[in-house]
Structures are given as structure tokens and as C-alpha cells.
């Protein structure tokens, strides 16, 4: 049950970090989203509580907020992608001048997950092809690992692929991300941090 609750929690958070559907907006406005999160927290024994910011007043504004914070080229472009926050590669032999720099798509994490998804028969939708290491995909993969893999594998994935979340939260704070998504990013980072400690 604890495992199922964790998987369900990550799947919920993954859904919330995807471009919002009308369904999500309605759930966030009506309290169903928070209720589902709270049920998962209780089921997996997590002491965290869902933040108040996850309940919204304006369901129509959720899509606008997602577009503004994460996708709008005129907006702050807070990228929800691991590669952007980590060195492009840890390999030492590429002769690219930016190879060890942060700030790029398609880094080690993206290439690793591309190979991993392929090996496991997982297909990434084409609109996500630019970022196989998008946080929404990583959380959904973590949910699958919790369901089908071993605790050690899930712990390893958290350690290797979700250590960048504090940097994301800092970036979001600097950019002024507020409301649902400000609360969500802080909450995701807190959940992952709790899980890291719990599974160590």
C-alpha cells in the first residue's frame, strides 16, 4: 500500500507538471487534486501536508499560468528539464566548448533516459521528444519503477535523476513563480527530498 501510494503520488505530481487539462484545472479548483494528494501522502506514510497553494480559484487561469511560467517565449522560461540544470555531459572526451556547461537540452540525463525508455519499451509522445528528462516524465517513470522495480532501483533513480530539484526551486523563486505552480514545485522538491531520506 505504501508503494502504491508513492507511485500514485508521483503520478499525480507528474500530471500536475504537464500542460494542464481541463480535468486537472477542475480538480485543482474543486479540491479533488489536493484530496487525492493527501490520500496518497497518508497511504505512503509521508508526514508532509499538501500546501494551500494547490487549491486554485480560477480554473481557466491554470493553462495561462503554465504557459506563462514554463513555455511562453516572452515569459521567464523556467525549464522543467533536468539537462538544463546539470552539466551537459560528465564525459571528458567531447570536443564541444559547452560540453561541461549547464543550461542546455539533451544532456547526459536526456540521453540516458532516451536509451532507458527504449530498452524498456516505453514510448515518449512526440511533443515531449525535446526533453525526455522533463520532470513530468521523470516522475511518471519513477512511479513505474516503484510499481515494477525494486526499492533500490527507485532510490537510485531519485539519487541520480532528481537531485536537481533544489536548483529548479531556486530558479522558480528567482523568476517569481507563484500560485499553484510555485506551491507545486516546492512541494515536489519536498516530497522527493522526503523520499530520498525514507529510502536511503
Amino acid at each position: 500500500m505504501a508503494g502504491q501510494g508513492r507511485a500514485e503520488l508521483y503520478r499525480l505530481l507528474s500530471t500536475a507538471l504537464s500542460p494542464p487539462s481541463a480535468d486537472l484545472a477542475a480538480a485543482a479548483a474543486g479540491g479533488a487534486f489536493v484530496a487525492a494528494v493527501d490520500r496518497c501522502l497518508a497511504a505512503c506514510g509521508c508526514p508532509l501536508t499538501s500546501p494551500g497553494g494547490l487549491t486554485i480559484l480560477d480554473p481557466d487561469g491554470l493553462s495561462r499560468a503554465y504557459w506563462h511560467w514554463f513555455e511562453d517565449p516572452l515569459g521567464p522560461r523556467v525549464h522543467l528539464v533536468e539537462s538544463v540544470y546539470t552539466p551537459w555531459t560528465r564525459q571528458t572526451d567531447p570536443a564541444l566548448p559547452f560540453a561541461g556547461e549547464r543550461g542546455w537540452l539533451g544532456g547526459d540525463s536526456a540521453a540516458h533516459l532516451t536509451d532507458l525508455y527504449r530498452a524498456l519499451g516505453l514510448a515518449v509522445p512526440e511533443e515531449w521528444a525535446h526533453a525526455p528528462d522533463h520532470l513530468a516524465l521523470e516522475l511518471e517513470f519513477l512511479a513505474l519503477l516503484i510499481e515494477c522495480g525494486t526499492p533500490a532501483q527507485a532510490a537510485q533513480f531519485i539519487r541520480q535523476h532528481l537531485s536537481w530539484l533544489p536548483d529548479l526551486v531556486r530558479k522558480a523563486e528567482d523568476a517569481g513563480v507563484d500560485g499553484f505552480y510555485g506551491a507545486l514545485l516546492q512541494f515536489v522538491a519536498a516530497v522527493v527530498e522526503w523520499d530520498r531520506g525514507a529510502t536511503r
Binding site: S21, F33, P73, Q91, G107, A111, L116, L122, P125, G149
Partner: protein, 727 residues
């Protein structure tokens, strides 16, 4: 209510058994395996500047690992410059445009490709129906598919106005050399014995094959003399640097001609056999003595005589470089006449077609689809909106156009719609407010690009292209002693699913506009047809990327019939005379001059740096870091002038003109003419969405009036006076 969880990762067979069998789960093990993985090499072409050098892309695990020069490409010859290594980062830039956008007030919102193309086509049809095809323009920095698809699309609509980056670059050169020699030749660089470079900067306006050839010439003992107000990187490796007062190259060239003629050092036999109009040119040259030119240029008469005699001593294996933008491409009121005079000076040296002189290369043969399937649209019959080739406006301007004049027409409501492809005229032409006023007045502006540039910000629709290594483009032919056939291949799949290559965008618009019959042949078929004369299949060429072939007209030294009306060198141009200009080049002073009594007044000049290309690369972090490491954005001021103004090296200075007041740090250096201040041209990005380059450095375009030289219509980008003081 219950929330439906989205399933992003679709799977039919994910299970504990599958997870348990994969060794890939651990990224450290995956990285260790990657280290031993073989590299794959795929050919393509660079997009760091418009030279499109041949590039070999080394991939590991599907990612670019390094790039090297393609040895079988006439412009790279196995070498690449810094821009290429930086430009690869565009591929992984998270700020690239990812989906079509439509303006919504002051913002943009996403729109599907179908809706975007439907709406653009409807709006274009309405504008054409109401205002005619003269109200539409196409603007680009030409690349092969833009030229072909853009011209076809515009002509099919009856619209003639296609403008390019060139009015900010080399249209004076095109018009001037075109009048005298029929077209612009190249220097037989590796074999020259004496090379006079007036503003040409091979070491910073890099084409690696030229750098290699110049190195060969120097190693073989050639004398290379650089005339430039600035001690450029080329001057640093040349035999001699002769600083010149900016804007007076024409005076120098006329005086050099004067010496050759009065001392009978010119090639009289060549002039007799291969030229027309010499007597008219002789009359003008005789009036421009070295002593007169010394006053204009600041170069002593003795130096002018020495250079002329040295050139004559090396003739015909010598050249006065046709330059590019250099000093006489798009810079001064007298630039077209300077280009003409330089062409005439070369003719006096009898070096046209000579080893080590000026040569004309042909491109490769490229096949074409059958005309029945690939009909050419009729040429438009209405006048161009930018005035190029139009009596009373710019009758001698090359077809590359006059974009800054076009924007004046747009601001007046005479032009209604534009399609801007892979080009950023608002930042690359003088006076951005002038350019913005024109673009902003349009009823429809469509921008096709990869980034949210200064121009894209004003668009009604932005259509995102894939990055240059993500798409196959039209095969290019490049002239040379050995010609090059090259193709930009798709090295990696497009990272963003909702980007489309230009041919697909234009074909989609053409279908909606009812002109699809001009686009019945696919890009792949076009490329197959282009390769047909060479017995190479497209599949083979995709693996090869580039090859050196015989040019369509075999290269040989010697004088051939030129592409002028007479077939000869034309010292005097009837075409110029008919258009109301001087038949032969004569002295025209620059439009503006700094007040030498004013300690703060300087002529502002700009030029290339070896690690940037115009403004396009200022947003690339690794290239901008070079700028930062070496203070590359600083304004150069001569120590004598700086001392009078109390400015020390590294001080912040205020640069003021009627158009702008900005601050930038000073580089106090003897490497600049005292009357000039040099500012590199590529900085000062004003689009906050070009996050690396935004707000770094300043641009000379912010201080330069939007104007057009009357003959070729270029932007007169050095005709600007600024006042500099310590900030």
C-alpha cells in the same frame, strides 16, 4: 470529482521482469558504456555565418560530440573557425522557438500549424486583393532554399520585392564591380605576389580556405599591405599597415591610378585590348594627385607613390582586393564609386584573369527537374516596393534590395505585408526605431526563425524552423577553381516536434494560396535532379555531404569576355551615365566628417571579429565568453584622443549621437586612427528573449541614421559621427 492521471510514457510491456533485466538503469554504468561507444561521423554544413562551410559532425549516442572541417568543401578545406564550434550549441538551446505562435495583443499564444497557415494565407490573399502584389515583401539572409522557395513563392504571387541582408553588407561592391567587370571576381590569393587589402579583413571575416590561401601567399614571399583605419587581425599578420582617414579610400585609389598612369606603369597593352572608356578615367585620375590624396587620406604622397610602384612592379600577379563589406561594401556615400575605382585600378594592372590577380570562377553544374513538372512562375510586372531598379528611386541598386527604404514605405502605409526568413533586419540595419516603425506598421508580418529575435518580437505569426543540423536543405553549388557541391544534411532528428523546414512551410502556404503547381516537386526530388549530372545518388551524397567537382566552365587563366555590355572592362559606364551618375568613378567626399576641433567628435566605424558573425552569434554563451574574456565589446580610441578626454583604458565612456546615448568601456589603443572610434558590430541585443546576448555591449546601428546611398542603395553604415566622453 476524480482526477484522471495522464499517462505520458506509453507502454505495452513494462513489468518487473523487464526492469530487472536492463543494465541501463544506472546512469554511471550507462556513461561508462558510452565512453567506449564508437563515434559516428555525418557530413553537413555550418550555419555560424553565411559561408556554410563543410562540416563533419561527430556523434556519440546520437549526440554531437565534436565538429571538424570537411576536407572536400572549397570553403572549409578541412578547417572550421570558432563560430562553427559555438553554433552547434543552437541545437541544444532550450530557448529555441518550439511551436507556431500568434500575436495576441502584446503577447503570443500557441497556434497549430494548420490554423497558422490557414490564417496567414487568408490574410495574404486579402492584402494582395486589396493592395496588389507590390504591397508584399520577402526578407532574408539568403541561403539556397530561401532563394529558391522564396523567389518562386513571391513570383507566383506576382510580388517582386525580395530584400536581403546585403544592403548592410556588399551591395556597393556588387554594383561597382558589376559596372566595371560584369561581376565580382576573387583574388587568386595563394599565388598573388602583392596584395593590397583596403579594409578587407581575411583574419576576422573568416572563411578558412581564404585564411589558408593567404598564409600560403605570405609563406611564398608575397607582400600584403593593409589599408585600414584599424589595425585589424589581418594587419597584424600583414607586411605593412597603412592607417587611413575613414571614408577616403576613393581618394587613395584615384591617386594610385594617377601614379600608374603618369609614370606609365600601367599595363597599356591590356588596357588597349580589353577595356573601354580609359580616356575618360584617365582624365579623372590625372586630376587626383598623390599630394591631393595625402590631404584627404592622411597617407603621405611618398607612401602612395611607393605602393603604386610596388603594385606595378608585381603586375599582373598582384591585386587590390575587391573586399566584401570591408571599407567599401555598405559604409560610405562614396562606396559604390570606390568599388568601381578599385575595379578600374586592377584593370590598369592588367591582372584580370592573371595568375595571382583577379579571377572569375564558375560554379558546378546542377541539374533541374523537367520544366513540365517544375514550371518557372512569370516574372512580376509591378515595380519593387523598395525602389531597387526603379527609375527615380534606386535605379542601379542590385536585386538584393534596399530594406531600409522599404521600411520607410511600410511606415507610410505603402507596404502591407512581409515574410522574414532567418533574418533580423531590425537589429542588423541602422536605426532600429526606423526599422521597427516599418515592421510595426505592417498589417501582416510573418517571421520564420529559430529564436525570438528583435524582428520576431513584432511578428503577427512566428513559424519555428528546425535547427541547421536537424534538416536537409537544398544542395548548394559554390564556385571555385574546383567547384563545390554541398548539402546541409539532417544529422539529428528535430528536437522540437512542432518545427517545420522552410520548404514545407512554403509548400503549405502555396497550397492555400492556389499556387501549388509551382511546388509540385519535392525537396528530395530537387536534390536528386541537382546531383544527376554527377552520377551520384542522393543516398550516396547524404553520406558524403560535399564534394569538389569540375566547374561548369573549366577554370583557366587569361582574359575572357566579361559580363559587361561591351564584354570588356568598362572604365566608363553608360548605364551609370543614363541613370544620372558619373560615367567614371570620381571623387565624392564622405557624407559626414567629424569636427576635428571638437575633442569629443569621432567617426564611428565597425568591423568583424573572428569569433562572431553579425549579431546572430552574440547569443551563444561560449562565443560571448570569448568577448568577455578579451573585452571584445569595447570601443577603440586612440591614446592621444583619450588623453585629451581624460579617458584611460577600461574606463566607462558615454557614446552620444542624435539617435542614442549609451555607455561602454574603452580600449585605448594605437591600433585605431585618431579620428575614428571602432566598435564591433555584433553586440547590443535588445530582445530580452535572446537571454545571453541581451543588454551586453552596444551596437553602432543604434547611432546610425537609416539612409540609403543613391547608387546601390546600401545603408552607409560608417556615415555616423558620435561624441565620446568619460562616463
Amino acid at each position: 470529482m476524480e482526477l484522471t492521471r495522464r499517462r505520458l510514457l506509453s507502454t505495452a510491456s513494462f513489468s518487473a521482469a523487464v526492469v530487472g533485466t536492463t543494465p541501463l538503469l544506472d546512469i554511471d554504468r550507462w556513461l561508462a558504456a558510452l565512453a567506449d561507444a564508437p563515434a559516428e561521423v555525418r557530413p553537413s554544413t555550418c550555419n555560424g555565418c553565411s559561408s556554410h562551410c563543410g562540416m563533419l559532425v561527430h556523434l556519440k549516442g546520437g549526440r554531437v560530440w565534436k565538429v571538424t572541417g570537411h576536407p572536400e568543401h572549397g570553403r572549409s578545406l578541412g578547417r572550421l573557425c570558432a563560430r562553427a564550434h559555438g553554433a552547434v550549441s543552437w541545437l541544444y538551446d532550450p530557448d529555441r522557438l518550439a511551436q507556431p505562435l500568434k500575436r495576441d495583443g502584446t503577447r503570443f499564444r500557441p497556434i497549430s500549424w494548420d490554423h497558422a497557415l490557414d490564417e496567414i494565407a487568408e490574410r495574404l490573399k486579402a492584402i494582395l486583393a486589396r493592395h496588389g502584389p507590390g504591397a508584399l515583401f520577402w526578407s532574408h539572409n539568403p541561403r539556397a532554399d530561401g532563394v529558391l522557395y522564396g523567389t518562386r513563392f513571391m513570383h507566383a504571387l506576382g510580388a517582386p520585392t525580395i530584400v536581403t541582408h546585403n544592403a548592410a553588407c556588399n551591395t556597393a561592391l556588387t554594383a561597382g564591380f558589376g559596372a566595371v567587370l560584369g561581376r565580382v571576381p576573387e583574388v587568386d590569393l595563394a599565388r598573388t605576389r602583392y596584395l593590397l587589402l583596403i579594409g578587407r579583413n581575411y583574419a576576422e571575416g573568416v572563411r578558412t580556405s581564404s585564411s589558408i590561401a593567404m598564409g600560403q601567399a605570405l609563406a611564398a614571399g608575397a607582400k600584403v599591405v593593409v589599408v585600414d583605419p584599424r589595425h585589424s587581425a589581418t594587419a597584424a599578420i600583414a607586411s605593412e599597415w597603412i592607417p587611413i582617414r575613414p571614408g577616403t579610400d576613393l581618394a587613395l585609389v584615384l591617386a594610385l591610378a594617377h601614379v600608374l598612369i603618369t609614370e606609365a606603369r600601367y599595363d597599356a597593352a591590356f588596357v588597349r585590348e580589353h577595356t573601354t572608356g580609359f580616356e575618360e578615367f584617365r582624365t579623372v585620375a590625372l586630376a587626383h594627385t598623390p599630394e591631393w590624396a595625402a590631404v584627404e587620406t592622411g597617407i603621405s604622397a611618398a607612401t602612395i607613390r611607393r605602393v603604386a610602384r610596388d603594385l606595378a612592379g608585381a603586375k599582373p600577379h598582384c591585386a587590390v582586393d575587391p573586399s566584401w563589406k570591408g571599407a567599401f561594401g555598405a559604409n560610405y556615400l562614396n562606396s559604390t564609386d570606390t568599388a568601381r575605382a578599385v575595379a578600374c585600378l586592377n584593370a590598369l594592372l592588367g591582372n584580370i584573369g592573371a595568375e595571382g590577380g583577379l579571377v572569375f570562377y564558375s560554379g558546378p553544374r546542377l541539374g533541374s527537374p523537367p520544366a513540365a513538372r517544375w514550371p518557372a512562375p512569370p516574372r512580376p510586372t509591378v515595380a519593387r516596393a523598395d525602389g531597387a531598379g526603379v527609375a527615380g528611386e534606386f535605379p542601379l541598386a542590385p536585386a538584393q534590395g534596399v530594406p531600409q527604404h522599404l521600411m520607410r514605405k511600410a511606415a507610410q502605409g505603402k507596404v502591407k505585408a512581409g515574410i522574414v526568413v532567418h533574418h533580423n533586419p531590425i537589429r542588423n540595419f541602422p536605426d532600429p526605431k526606423h526599422m521597427e516603425a516599418g515592421m510595426g506598421a505592417l498589417d501582416l508580418l510573418v517571421v520564420i526563425d529559430t529564436h525570438l529575435t528583435e524582428t520576431a518580437r513584432l511578428a503577427h505569426y512566428i513559424l519555428p524552423e528546425p535547427c541547421f543540423l536537424e534538416q536537409e536543405e537544398l544542395i548548394e553549388g559554390i564556385p571555385g577553381e574546383r567547384a563545390t557541391i554541398a548539402m546541409r544534411t539532417q544529422v539529428v532528428p528535430p528536437r522540437f516536434a512542432y518545427t517545420k523546414p522552410l520548404p514545407e512551410i512554403i509548400e503549405g502556404l502555396a497550397r492555400r494560396m492556389g499556387i501549388e503547381r509551382y511546388f509540385a516537386v519535392s525537396l528530395e526530388e530537387l536534390n536528386r535532379a541537382r546531383l544527376a549530372p554527377h552520377g551520384v545518388t542522393l543516398e550516396q551524397f547524404r553520406r558524403r555531404g560535399s564534394m569538389l567537382v569540375d566547374p561548369s566552365t573549366p577554370f583557366r587563366y587569361g582574359m575572357r569576355r566579361l559580363e559587361t555590355p561591351s564584354g570588356k572592362v568598362e572604365f566608363a559606364s553608360e548605364r551609370f551615365a543614363r541613370a544620372g551618375f558619373n560615367a567614371v568613378p570620381t571623387w565624392v567626399p564622405p557624407k559626414v566628417r567629424p569636427d576635428l576641433a571638437d575633442p569629443k567628435a569621432f567617426r564611428l566605424i565597425h568591423g568583424k571579429q573572428a569569433f562572431h558573425s553579425h549579431t546572430a552569434t552574440a547569443n551563444i554563451p561560449v562565443l560571448l565568453q570569448i568577448t568577455k574574456d578579451y573585452g571584445g565589446e569595447r570601443i577603440w580610441i586612440h591614446p592621444r584622443r583619450a588623453a585629451r578626454l581624460g579617458i584611460s583604458d577600461g574606463d566607462l565612456v558615454r557614446v552620444t549621437s542624435p539617435l542614442a546615448a549609451q555607455t561602454v568601456r574603452a580600449r585605448v589603443t594605437h591600433r585605431i586612427h585618431p579620428e575614428a572610434a571602432y566598435l564591433p558590430a555584433g553586440y547590443g541585443r535588445t530582445s530580452p528573449y535572446m537571454r545571453t546576448g541581451f543588454g551586453f555591449g552596444i551596437s553602432p546601428n543604434d547611432h546610425t541614421v537609416a539612409d540609403a546611398e543613391p547608387i546601390s542603395g546600401h545603408a552607409m553604415m560608417h556615415e555616423v559621427i558620435v561624441w565620446i566622453e568619460k562616463a
